[in-house]
C-alpha cells in the first residue's frame, strides 16, 4: 500500500505538472482539493481522472459525492485503485 501511495503521489506531480513538489510534500491524508488543503483545482480533478484512467483503468462513479470522497486524499485514491485493480 505504501508503494502504491508513493506511485500515486508521483502520478499527481507528473500529471498535473506541479512545480517544486516532491512526493514527500504530499501527506497521505491531506485534503487534495479545497481551502486549507493541498490546493488542487477543478481542472486538476479532470486531469487526475484522465491519468488514473490511463494508468490503472480506474472507473469513476456517476455521482459527484462518491467521486469527491475518492479524490479526497492520497489515502482514498489508493483505496480506490486497490479495490478496482483487485476486482479485475
Amino acid at each position: 500500500m505504501d508503494m502504491l501511495k508513493q506511485e500515486i503521489k508521483r502520478l499527481i506531480i507528473d500529471a498535473l505538472d506541479l512545480e517544486d513538489t516532491q512526493p514527500e510534500d504530499i501527506a497521505d491524508d491531506i485534503p487534495l482539493f479545497g481551502d486549507g488543503g493541498f490546493g488542487l483545482d477543478s481542472i486538476d480533478a479532470l486531469e487526475l481522472g484522465i491519468a488514473l484512467r490511463k494508468k490503472y483503468k480506474v472507473q469513476l462513479e456517476a455521482n459527484d459525492a462518491g467521486n469527491r470522497e475518492h479524490f479526497r486524499s492520497v489515502n482514498s485514491l489508493a483505496q480506490l485503485v486497490k479495490a478496482q485493480t483487485q476486482a479485475v
Binding site: 512545480e19 479532470l46 484512467r53 459527484d64
Partner: protein, 574 residues
C-alpha cells in the same frame, strides 16, 4: 415523462402567464419538479422578501434550482439580484458596498404567506453581474431582464427547432452569464426541463444523459477538450442532441475529436459578460474558424481593429467596443485575432493580469511583480515576483515552495483556485525587452518548463511603424513573423507557411489601426502571392489608403523581394 412542445413565454411574463401545474421545470436526481411546486416556492420566497426593506440581495447559491427560484423571487418582490464573480471571502468583502443583504442568511417563512405572481417590469428588474475589468477592480455589469429576454428569443430562433423538446444538461456554472442564459433562462422561457445538478465530471454526464434520454449539453472548452479522453464518445448512448460551448474558443483539434465521436462539432458562442452572445460558429470545413454574428447585431472593426458591436442585448443603442481584435470578412463573418489588452482567460475564467499583480504587490514580501498566461499541458498563470528584504529572508529560511505557497494562499482570498499561479519565479528584477517594457514573451521565457509553450501568437511582432513624410494615408510597418504564430500550424503538413487569407486579414487589421480607414470590406483585387512567408521571416508591410475611392493597397516585401501585393476595396460608411 410528460410530453410537451417547447413554447416560448417572455421572461417577464413567465409567472403571470404561468404553465400547466404538471409541466416539468427541472429534474433533481430522479425527481421531477413541476411548475406548481416551482411557482409556489418562488411565490413564498417573494412574500418573505417583501417583508424585508433591503433592496439589493447577494445571490450565491451553488444549487441551480435554488438559485433560479431565488432569482425570480427577488425580481417578483421588486428587489435587485447581485451575483458575485466568485464567493472568495476577499471578493465578497470588496463587494460589501454593492449589496444590502445576503440570501443565504434569509430564513424563509413557511407560513401560508404567498406573493401574487404578477408580471415583472423587464426594464426595472435588475441583475448585477461582475467581471474583471482592466483596472483590476471587479467591474459591475448591470443587466435588466429585458436584455436577457431579448437574447433568449435569439437563442430559441437559432437553435430551438434543432434541440426540440430536449432537456438541458450542463457542465458550465449557472452563476456566470453563459450558464445563466443557456441553462436557466432559455429552458425556463421555452418550457424545457433543466437539470438541477451540474455535471462536474464526465461520468455524471453519461448517467444524466441516460436519465434524460434527449438532452442538449451546455459546456465549455475546459470540459470539452478533455471529454474525448474521459468518455468513449463513439459508444456513448444516448448522445446529446447538441453541444454548446462558450467561455473561449474551442481548439480545432478538440472540435474535430468531438465531431468524430458525437456526430457533430459543438456550437460555439462568442461573447462576454458585458455584451452577452455576439456570434457563433461550428467548426466544420475550411472556413469553420469564422464567427457569424447574431442577426440582430451590427459588428464592425474600430480604428484600432477592435470588435465594435451594436446590439439589442446591450443597455442602449450606442456602439460597444470590445477588447478583441477582429478581421471582418466581406460577408460579415469575422476571425478573432486575440485580446488587445492584458486580460486573459485561463480555462474560461477571465483574469485581469494587472489585478493579480496589484494583489501580489499588496503582500508584505513583494517589491514588484508580473503575471503571465502560460499555455502548456493546461492553461495556467506564471507569477514573476521580485521579493523585498523580508521576502528574501523568508526565501532563504524556508525555500521557494513555502514562499510560493504563502503567496498563493494570499491570492486565494481574491481569485478562483483555477486562476492561482502554478508556476513561480523569484528573480532579482523583472525581465524587460529592448524597449524597457516588461513583455509577455520575456516573462514566458522564464518558465522553461518541459511542456510549456508560450501562448500562440495571432499577430506578428511589430518592430517599427513609419509614416512617410507626415502622410497619414501611407504607413510602413516592420514585422517579424515569429514562428509561434498560430496560423502556421496546419498550413500545410510538413511545410509551415503563412496563409494568404491571414496576410489579407493582417493588412486590414493594421490599416484600421494606423490609417483613417472607413467602410467595410467589400472585395479583393489584383491579389498576387509571389513568394511564401516562412516562420521567422522579417519583412515590411506597406499600406496605402486611398480615402476618396475607399481602396487599400498592401504589399509584403523586403528590399530584396516581394512576397505578396493586392488591393482591398471598402464600401459604405460604417
Amino acid at each position: 415523462m410528460t410530453n410537451f412542445a417547447p413554447h416560448l413565454i417572455a421572461l417577464p411574463d413567465l409567472f403571470n402567464r404561468g404553465r400547466p401545474d404538471d409541466h416539468p421545470v427541472a429534474r433533481d436526481g430522479q425527481r421531477l419538479i413541476v411548475w406548481r411546486d416551482f411557482s409556489v416556492r418562488v411565490s413564498r420566497l417573494a412574500a418573505t422578501l417583501r417583508q424585508h426593506p433591503e433592496k439589493r440581495w447577494l445571490l450565491t447559491s451553488d444549487d441551480p434550482l435554488d438559485f433560479t427560484a431565488e432569482l425570480f423571487a427577488l425580481l417578483l418582490a421588486g428587489k435587485q439580484a447581485v451575483i458575485p464573480p466568485n464567493t472568495r471571502p476577499g471578493t465578497l468583502d470588496a463587494l460589501a458596498a454593492a449589496f444590502d443583504a445576503r440570501l443565504d442568511t434569509l430564513t424563509v417563512d413557511n407560513a401560508s404567506l404567498t406573493s401574487p405572481l404578477a408580471a415583472i417590469d423587464p426594464h426595472r428588474a435588475i441583475i448585477d453581474l461582475y467581471t474583471s475589468g482592466s483596472t483590476g477592480e471587479h467591474k459591475r455589469v448591470r443587466k435588466t431582464l429585458a436584455q436577457f429576454d431579448a437574447e433568449v428569443a435569439v437563442l430559441e430562433s437559432l437553435w430551438g427547432e434543432k434541440i426540440g423538446a430536449a432537456a438541458i444538461l450542463a457542465t458550465a456554472p449557472h452563476q456566470h452569464i453563459y450558464g445563466l442564459l443557456f441553462r436557466v433562462f432559455w429552458p425556463l422561457a421555452s418550457g424545457r426541463v433543466f437539470d438541477a445538478v451540474t455535471c462536474a465530471h464526465p461520468d455524471m454526464l453519461e448517467e444524466r444523459l441516460a436519465v434524460f434520454g434527449r438532452a442538449a449539453l451546455i459546456s465549455s472548452p475546459a470540459q470539452l477538450t478533455r471529454l474525448p479522453d474521459l468518455l468513449p464518445l463513439a459508444a456513448l448512448q444516448p448522445k446529446p442532441v447538441a453541444v454548446f460551448s462558450s467561455g473561449g474558443p474551442l481548439p480545432g483539434s478538440a472540435a474535430r475529436a468531438l465531431a468524430d465521436g458525437l456526430g457533430e462539432a459543438p456550437i460555439e458562442v462568442f461573447g462576454s459578460t458585458e455584451t452577452g452572445g455576439v456570434a457563433w460558429r461550428q467548426q466544420v470545413g475550411a472556413d469553420g474558424d469564422l464567427w457569424t454574428p447574431f442577426l440582430c447585431h451590427t459588428v464592425s472593426a474600430s480604428d484600432t481593429g477592435a470588435l465594435t458591436l451594436r446590439s439589442p442585448f446591450l443597455a442602449d443603442d450606442a456602439p460597444w467596443e470590445m477588447d478583441d481584435g477582429i478581421a471582418l470578412q466581406a460577408d460579415g463573418r469575422f476571425r478573432l485575432l486575440g485580446r488587445l489588452d492584458r486580460i486573459v482567460k485561463i480555462e474560461e475564467k477571465r483574469l485581469s493580469l494587472p489585478d493579480m499583480e496589484s494583489r501580489l504587490l499588496a503582500h508584505g514580501w513583494v517589491d514588484s511583480s508580473a503575471a503571465v498566461a502560460l499555455n502548456g499541458r493546461r492553461q495556467s498563470i506564471g507569477a514573476v515576483v521580485v521579493l523585498n528584504a523580508q521576502g528574501k529572508a523568508a526565501l532563504q529560511a524556508s525555500g521557494k515552495r513555502a514562499v510560493a505557497q504563502t503567496l498563493r494562499t494570499h491570492l486565494a482570498n481574491h481569485f478562483d483556485a483555477v486562476l492561482l499561479p502554478r508556476h513561480w519565479r523569484f528573480p532579482d528584477q523583472l525581465p524587460t525587452n529592448e524597449r524597457g517594457k516588461v513583455a509577455a514573451a520575456a516573462l514566458a521565457a522564464l518558465f522553461d518548463l518541459p511542456d510549456v509553450v508560450p501562448e500562440p501568437a495571432l499577430l506578428p511582432e511589430v518592430t517599427a511603424v513609419n509614416f512617410a513624410g507626415g502622410n497619414r494615408n501611407h504607413v510602413v510597418l516592420d514585422l517579424h513573423v515569429t514562428s509561434d504564430i498560430a496560423h502556421f500550424a496546419g498550413h500545410f503538413p510538413g511545410a509551415a507557411l503563412l496563409p494568404g487569407v491571414v496576410q489579407v486579414d493582417w493588412a486590414v487589421f493594421f490599416a484600421r489601426r494606423h490609417l483613417a480607414l472607413t467602410g467595410h470590406f467589400s472585395a479583393l483585387e489584383n491579389l498576387k502571392f509571389l513568394g511564401v512567408i516562412l516562420p521567422g521571416t522579417k519583412l515590411q508591410l506597406s499600406l496605402t489608403w486611398d480615402a476618396a475611392r475607399q481602396r487599400l493597397e498592401f504589399a509584403y516585401a523586403t528590399p530584396q523581394r516581394k512576397y505578396s501585393t493586392g488591393r482591398i476595396l471598402f464600401g459604405g460608411a460604417a
